[in-house]
Amino acid sequence: MVINQLPLQILTGLAILAFAFFWQTSLSGITRKIVARYHKRYGPKWYQEFRDIFKLMSKTGVTHGWVYDFGVMMALGGIMATVMFMPLMKFTAFPGFDNFFIYVYLFAVGMLGMAMSAVGSGNPLAGIGVMRALTQMVGYEVPFMIVVLAIINGHGTSSLSQLAAIQQQAGVLSWNLVKMPIGTVAAFICLLGMLGKKPFETFIAPAEIASGPMVEYGGKQLGMLMILHQFSIFIEVSLFMNLFLGGAANPLGFALKYMAVYVLASLISQAMGRFKIDQVIKFFYKIPIALAILQAVMVVYLGWGV
Amino acid sequence: MSKINMQLKELTENVGKSYSVLQVDYPTPNQAALDFQPGDVHAVLAYLKGQGFRQMSLLSCVDWIEDGQFQLVYLLFNWEAGLRLQVRTRIDRANPVFTTVTGIYPGAKYYERDVHEFFGVEFNGNPDSSKPLFLENWDDMPPMRKDFDPQAYSDRKYKAREYKTDFNTKAGEGQ
């Protein structure tokens, strides 16, 4: 690891971080307007998400002991580290290290941090919410991993930027979406699970457990959690984009693909109700896993996907 | 009330045969009101349930303060025939005690708790009839009795907003 390059890389990492925050928050503001049109009404201003987050930051919240604060900081730290690794359009902060497993496991740090501080707040509803979040994580991770393993096996490399480069060789035709349609469908369903969008929104189910793990958060802790939420959406959607839609060389391509994936996910979520937690697991272990295995078998043993 | 329902008429006849009906009254064409002694209310209710009055819509209590009596009213409804029956009985106001009807109509359990809380009628046989239901640590007589004055209670407990000129009229007097 070359020491002198490190400060420069960290700076680029922080730049990616800032870009991710502003891009994703404004995009979720625009999506709120689109979703509002879906409900036959005008939604809020596009910068409403910014106003919400900064308002929360300006409030004096409540703390339940040091675990509660430490957990939030650890979660935000983990997620920020993952965003710094993320390749963005052309430049990546740490060339060569953007390995797929880092994202999955650093993401787990975020989840652990949030789970720890949610249960640390001493509220039973938060405990139930965390239990549902973890159970759901088991649900959507396995099919997603099978599809991704197939891709890595097929292309031989697990670094995102190289994967994106491979997919861009022959333009649209070489996208994994085209070459592995079944795997992409399974991965999109798992993406809905990851984002916590409506059909799989069991862990923040307001009507049952009063917004699950977020029950005890207020003031700046909730603000930090909302930033964490924006970052995690950025990670998941750009992960999906790099793996299946061939990354993005120019900013316009990046914007269009990113928006297409995120808005499509939000619109699907508006038309669906909420499953119960064991229905979620049963659903994930029926259709997505079957698609993923089918795709994996095609790629690994028959070599079609490459 | 000329066209009183024929079914209703012969129903009151054969009820009258077996139980002493104090008074019969037909407020509306398909509704009859029968007064009974407190003793045989349960028998009448059981008999009427057999006759198709399967739903007890309401159990309520009227406080006749002048003649010192509570009047318990059981309202039954027969869905097939569309007939409504009021089974009424009077119990003493000093120590109002009555046996529960949850054996015949299980739904009456909470009506009895409601009547107990507002009138102070004891229903033995209903396990938790004396538990507080609507009012929380209530420190006065049961509120629905005629001699309870809500205006005085609320002025005593809750500070009203002082207006510069006192122009809210006294509550209208009784009849």
Binding site: R32, R41, R51, K55, M57, V215 | P132, P143, S154, R161
Partner: protein, 185 residues
């Protein structure tokens, strides 16, 4: 000395900015305490759309900043409202609907309904109308936003400053604030 007032100016500047954010993103506590709450879904949904003002319903007191006291308050509800109000994170505001919160309204002679809410909780905005119409509700929220912008919505400061006066009123008419009976063991 110089650093002190620079510090104060900085704090003042930051206070101004955060006031702008607080005004434009008010989160409403989802608690229908009385009968005027039936007009809130109308104000939230397609026709009157509260979200344009940046308002949205939130599930728990910790996350909310506006407590809507919709209509009359029976004694039992007042205990819960006070408990929820104290759980909210400052700065917090209260909007009171209808005449029942001012002087008991149509229930002035009922035994379980309190007469005037501002003995127990600091109110920032009153909205007139027995069942205020959604236009009146939106108008009231707009007034609250303007009040926040020019610093007059400081109910929570009043509550914090004369805390014991409010507490004394509450105990005097509610008896004990936290109930401990066979239902709440």
């Amino acid at each position: 000395m110089a650093t002190a007032d620079k510090e104060k100016k900085l704090k003042e500047g930051w206070e101004g900015i955060s006031r702008f954010f607080r005004a434009n993103s008010l989160w409403m506590l989802m608690y229908c305490t009385g009968c005027c709450a039936i007009e809130l879904p109308q104000a939230m949904t397609s026709r009157y759309d509260m979200e344009r003002l940046g308002m949205g319903p939130m599930a728990t007191p910790r996350q909310a900043d506006v407590l809507l006291v919709t209509g009359y308050l029976s004694v039992k509800t007042l205990r819960r409202v006070i408990y929820a109000y104290e759980q909210m994170s400052t700065p917090k505001y209260i909007v009171a609907f209808g005449p029942c919160t001012i002087n008991g309204g149509i229930y002035h002679d009922a035994a379980t309904v309190i007469k005037s809410l501002d003995q127990y909780l600091p109110i920032d905005v009153y909205i007139a109308g027995c069942m205020p119409k959604p236009e009146a509700v939106m108008n009231g929220f707009q007034d609250l936003i303007d009040m926040i912008k020019d610093k007059t919505a400081d109910g929570w400061k009043r509550y914090r400053d004369n805390y014991d006066w409010y507490k004394q009123n509450q105990i005097e008419s509610l008896g004990e604030l936290r109930i401990k009976d066979e239902y709440h063991e």
